[in-house]
């Protein structure tokens, strides 16, 4: 099962293509986008949403795909479906009038491709020897492939064997990734881990009669022994070691194997996916893998450090492309599977506490009232905030979810040292000193927000403020939003035509919100000047000079939509605007629709303890940025 190679359009054929339909089958909603090439450029011409139909009672993902696509037909007038549709057959019209009686200037599609996170997406368990080494590398590999990592097992994870066995048995992952032992290193412990998995007799999530796919990506010397041990319980694929050496990581082969197994073992057993695979020009890939690919491609093309977030109802995915010690741009992805705006809102409340949410609100509310509102959202996740109180509470929760998810991401997105020097076993346990967090909040060039609470915020300024408050970037940073959550669609389109994908990313997907200048400082009283910024726009107007004031956030009017060079000079050595204490920084930026934001609130953001003062403080922040709150 899988896409017919003869049907796959290669890049050269894509140059002739004029209309492509792309769907993303999310866990709740299937979203269809239609792109068209006209007058020398690609553009988005239609979109449609429908509930995802992978679960009972429909249990056929193609129904949701067809429903979402029908909305495009209805709103654009472009005929996309053949008039004679047979059960299971490709329902889409090819371009032209073949078999269609009435003439129509625009009909049919050249290609249909799709991503998916339906049914909870790709869920994996990973196992390794040492938690902060092979297990962590395996985890990064799984996350980079777009998976939700249900659990990470390691010999030093603090659990007894029987607890591990019980946990593995209860997990029901789609795929299990086993790593461990550098090449030429430990073997016994790796085999021990394989025995543990065998004893647990894990079952896959879908299909009681299929073996669990296991990818072995550990010490190559014991690969066959591991495969022999697990042969009766699992379908084992052997790939290159994800951690061939203490200071070397090789995530690609495992990631590729995950993609292949996802298609052959997971998607093919999900209701309707077999049919859907027959319609698509490319294999279906997990939604986060497509989003991550798009972010990585964009960052490397523009040579910039990018942080992106997709905050959904159940999970928050963060993607980063940041420089390591060798100055290479490294991609990382994390998924906080328990942080979300509806299904997982209870976890956010438990993790941060009600006071952390209340601090963002420009009004007074009792603890119990707030808790009840959040609990009611948890049990009715598809409802929409219909007044300011409900809206601002949701946006307050999003700030905390973003903050928590970023902390999780920064702990995972680490470089393992730029030194190729080989080290011994003893160094494995000291290798933490070679782990360096890659995400530097002072060095980020661009932050991209996606997900309903951000993309569908009533104003772009409120989306900007959520990202600013949640992530708290420092220095000079551009902020943007994915207009309609197009990233998954463009991510898979990039596999077909990278140029088309890049063009649409710039023209239709990314909406620049604004540029923020946020110094970090110490021992400076509120009201004092932190830094002075000189803004040179590309227009003929004179440069603008503005001061960033400690404790104050404000917006500079009149720069919306401008390309400019921003030079920021700290007022003293106690101020850092991204280049080091007291050092001047200059950056070329594109200022979006929200303008230039001067954020003199220190990091980490703090609020007055007194509830009345805190409410007044937040009201002032909202007023300064022109945001209504009642």
């Amino acid at each position: 099962m899988g896409a017919n190679p003869d049907q796959i359009l290669v890049g050269i054929e894509m140059l002739k293509a004029s209309r492509i339909l792309i769907t993303d089958c999310g866990s709740t909603t299937t979203k269809a986008l239609l792109f068209e090439h006209q007058g020398g450029s690609w553009r988005l011409v239609g979109s449609g949403d429908a509930p995802t139909t992978v679960e009972a009672p429909v249990a056929d993902v193609t129904v949701g795909v067809v429903n979402a696509t029908r909305e495009i037909e209805e709103t654009t007038g472009i005929r996309l479906f053949s008039s004679t549709q047979m059960q299971g057959q490709n329902p889409f019209l090819p371009p032209g009038n073949n078999g269609y009686q009435e003439s129509s200037p625009r009909q049919g599609i050249d290609a249909f491709i799709s991503t998916s996170s339906a049914g909870g997406g790709l869920q994996m368990a990973v196992a390794g020897l040492v938690r902060e080494m092979s297990a962590e590398s395996a985890q990064r590999s799984a996350l980079g492939a777009g998976a939700i990592v249900l659990d990470v097992f390691a010999t030093d994870d603090g659990r007894e064997d029987h607890d591990k066995i019980q946990a593995i048995r209860e997990l029901r992952p789609d795929i299990l990734l086993l790593s461990g032992g550098i090449d030429g290193g430990a073997e016994e412990q790796v085999i021990d881990m394989a025995e543990t998995i065998l004893a647990a007799a894990p079952e896959p999530r879908f299909g009681n009669t299929i073996s669990l796919p296991v990818i072995y990506a550990g010490n190559s010397a014991c690969a066959q022994k591991v495969a022999d041990i697990l042969a009766t319980e699992a379908h084992v694929e052997i790939v290159s070691n994800v951690r061939p050496d203490v200071l070397e990581e090789n995530l690609g082969p495992a990631r590729e194997a995950i993609h292949d197994l996802f298609l052959s073992h997971v998607m093919s057993h999900s209701p309707g996916y077999g049919t859907l695979l027959g319609w698509t020009k490319l294999p279906i890939i997990p939604t986060p893998a497509a989003v991550g690919h798009m972010i990585e491609v964009y960052a490397k093309k523009t040579n910039s450090q990018v942080l992106a977030v997709d905050i959904g109802g159940a999970t928050t995915d963060i993607f980063s492309v940041c420089r390591d010690l060798d100055n290479a741009l490294v991609f990382n992805r994390s998924v906080s599977a328990n942080l979300g705006m509806s299904y997982s809102i209870g976890y956010v409340l438990k993790e941060v506490g009600v006071e952390s949410i209340m601090r963002w609100l420009p009004f007074t509310i009792s603890v119990q009232d707030l808790r009840h509102r959040l609990c009611n959202k948890m049990v009715r996740p598809t409802t929409i905030p219909s007044d300011f109180t409900e809206l601002l509470i949701e946006q307050a929760v999003s700030r905390e979810a973003l903050n928590l998810a970023l902390r999780h991401h920064r702990a995972l997105a680490v470089g393992i040292g730029g030194n190729a020097e080989k080290r011994g076993i003893a160094d494995m346990f000291r290798q933490s000193r070679h782990r360096r967090e890659l995400v530097d909040m002072q060095s980020l060039d661009l932050i991209i927000g996606a997900g309903g609470v951000i993309s569908h915020a009533p104003s772009r300024m409120s989306a900007l403020l959520m990202l600013l408050d949640g992530f708290q970037p420092e220095g000079i940073t551009e902020l943007a939003v994915d207009s309609v959550f197009m990233l998954p669609h463009l991510g898979i389109l990039a596999q077909l035509d990278e140029a088309a994908s890049a063009e649409l990313f710039d023209s239709a997907c990314l909406i620049p919100l604004g540029v923020t200048i946020a110094p970090s400082f110490r021992n400076i009283n509120a009201g004092r000047v932190l830094a002075r910024a000189l803004v040179n726009t590309s227009s003929e107007r004179s440069p603008i000079t503005v001061d960033i004031i400690a404790g104050v956030i404000t917006k500079v009017q009149g720069l919306e939509g401008q390309e400019c060079i921003v030079e920021v000079e700290p007022a003293s050595k106690r101020v850092n605007v991204g280049g080091g204490p007291g050092k001047k920084v200059s950056k070329r930026c594109r200022i979006g629709i929200c303008g230039l934001i001067l954020d003199g609130r220190n990091r980490p953001l703090e609020h007055p303890r007194n509830p009345s003062e805190r409410v007044f403080y937040q009201q002032r922040v909202f007023s300064e940025l022109g945001l209504p709150y009642e």
């Binding site: 866990s27 709740t28 509930p51 995802t52 992978v54 679960e55 009972a56 339906a118 909870g120 064997d161 029987h162 066995i165 019980q166 073997e187 016994e188 085999i191 021990d192 025995e195 543990t196 065998l198 004893a199 647990a200 007799a201 022994k225 041990i229 159940a314 328990n338 299904y343 997982s344 209870g346 976890y347 409340l349 438990k350 119990q368 009232d369 808790r371 009840h372 509102r373 609990c375 009611n376 959202k377 948890m378 049990v379 009715r380 996740p381 598809t382 409802t383 929409i384 905030p385 219909s386 007044d387 300011f388 109180t389 409900e390 809206l391 569908h456 009533p458 104003s459 409120s462 209504p628």
Partner: protein, 369 residues
């Protein structure tokens, strides 16, 4: 076409429940058999827990040395305390041995590590019918389908698993906070329905008396936390250790129970009922339920109500989000074009006349049928 969810409150409908074993086992009934809620319809043996005997490390010998001289082979039974390995050294003066800490059966011996995997005694599982009714079909040594007729009610959130008991309707109005004074002399073996926002004391007394279930409109979150002994973090429930199953029909806070619950259940007081608090709020949502089986005296429409249906003018709806949470009204208009609310959110809306006459504009996503 947008669809709005509904939580069922049906006076009489045909109900089927699939009773499924986690592993193949033995089916004890046949199609056509009449069962009660307590009838054991299927049994199975679940694999026992696994114990990994790390013999080589324990006795301090090489794995190969250990594996070649074990006293048991794969498939052999083992009794706790039984000798699995013995080694003599230095002319017999040094003896090391390993005795099994568990009973079970040898499942695996791994020569490379000198480990023995022992699977413990299997655990017996007995699966009840959960509902009084008839066996509709059986399948694959794993599944029994029970069918019945009766009243079917869904809540928005439940905690606790399956239980059955005698239905009792409490003398509390749907909007009244449930108090001790509303409770009967004894709640043992009963599933009680009525009122809203019960106090800690009410739940404690029901637990002490052996109640099987409670259905109320809403609850304060701190009272639920006390009942569970932890904060609920996700609407994914059903396996909690609680003294009885609890179902909320509306949500959190002080929200009146919807009247249709009382009107549906009041005539059925005294009958045997089945309750299940299992909740899973995702696509393909599972909501907690209360079922009261009974045979109809007259012909009835057995078509189950749809879990979703489209809205129409003059339809009665419930509003399920603040500021109108728990209110009921009638749809006056369904504008086609999206509407921008005062808070800036743009969505498809409905104009609803509330039960007190107030006219409000609300997102369609905030309506329940």
């Amino acid at each position: 076409m947008s669809l709005s969810p509904s939580l069922a409150a049906q006076k009489l409908t045909r109900i089927q429940r699939i009773r499924r074993l986690p592993v193949p086992g033995q089916i004890n009934v046949q199609p056509g058999d009449t069962v009660t809620a307590e009838t054991i319809v299927a049994t199975a043996e679940l694999p026992g827990d696994v114990f990994v005997a790390r013999i080589a490390e324990t006795v301090g010998l090489e794995p190969r040395e250990v594996s070649e001289t074990l006293t048991k082979q794969v498939g052999d039974p083992v009794i706790a305390g039984e000798l699995l390995f013995q080694h003599h050294a230095f002319f017999g003066f040094i003896k090391c041995e390993y005795r099994s800490p568990v009973s079970g059966q040898v499942e695996l011996i791994v020569p490379d590590t000198g480990h023995m995997v022992i699977r413990g005694e299997p655990r017996k599982l007995q699966l009840s019918a959960y509902l009084g009714g008839q066996v509709n079909r059986v399948a694959e040594n794993r599944e029994v389908v029970i069918e019945t007729t009766g009243a079917f009610l869904q809540g928005v959130l439940g905690v606790g698993g399956e239980a059955c008991g005698t239905l009792e309707i409490l003398p509390a109005e749907p909007y009244e906070n449930l108090k001790l004074a509303h409770l009967p002399q004894s709640s043992q073996g009963k599933i009680l329905v009525g009122g809203t926002a019960p106090s800690h004391a009410v739940l404690e007394r029901l637990a002490a008396e052996g109640a099987r279930g409670l259905v109320v409109g809403s609850i304060a979150d701190d009272v639920l936390t006390g009942f569970l002994s932890y904060e609920l973090q996700a609407a994914l429930t059903g396996s909690e250790t609680v003294p009885f199953t609890l179902i909320l029909t509306e949500g959190f806070g002080n929200i009146p129970m919807k009247l249709s619950v009382m009107t549906t259940l009041l005539p059925l007081a005294g009958k045997e009922a089945a309750i299940n608090g299992r909740t899973q709020v995702r696509a393909g949502a599972v909501r907690p339920e209360l079922i009261v089986p009974y045979k109809p005296e007259e012909p009835y429409d057995s078509t189950p109500l749809a879990t979703e249906s489209s809205l129409y003018v003059a339809q009665t709806v419930r509003l399920v989000r603040a500021p109108y949470l728990g209110r009921q009204g009638e749809i006056i208009e369904l504008p086609e074009a999206p509407h921008t609310l005062p808070n800036g959110v743009t969505c498809r809306v409905a104009q609803v006349a509330l039960d007190d006459g107030e006219l409000v504009t609300v997102p369609r996503a905030n309506l329940e049928i």
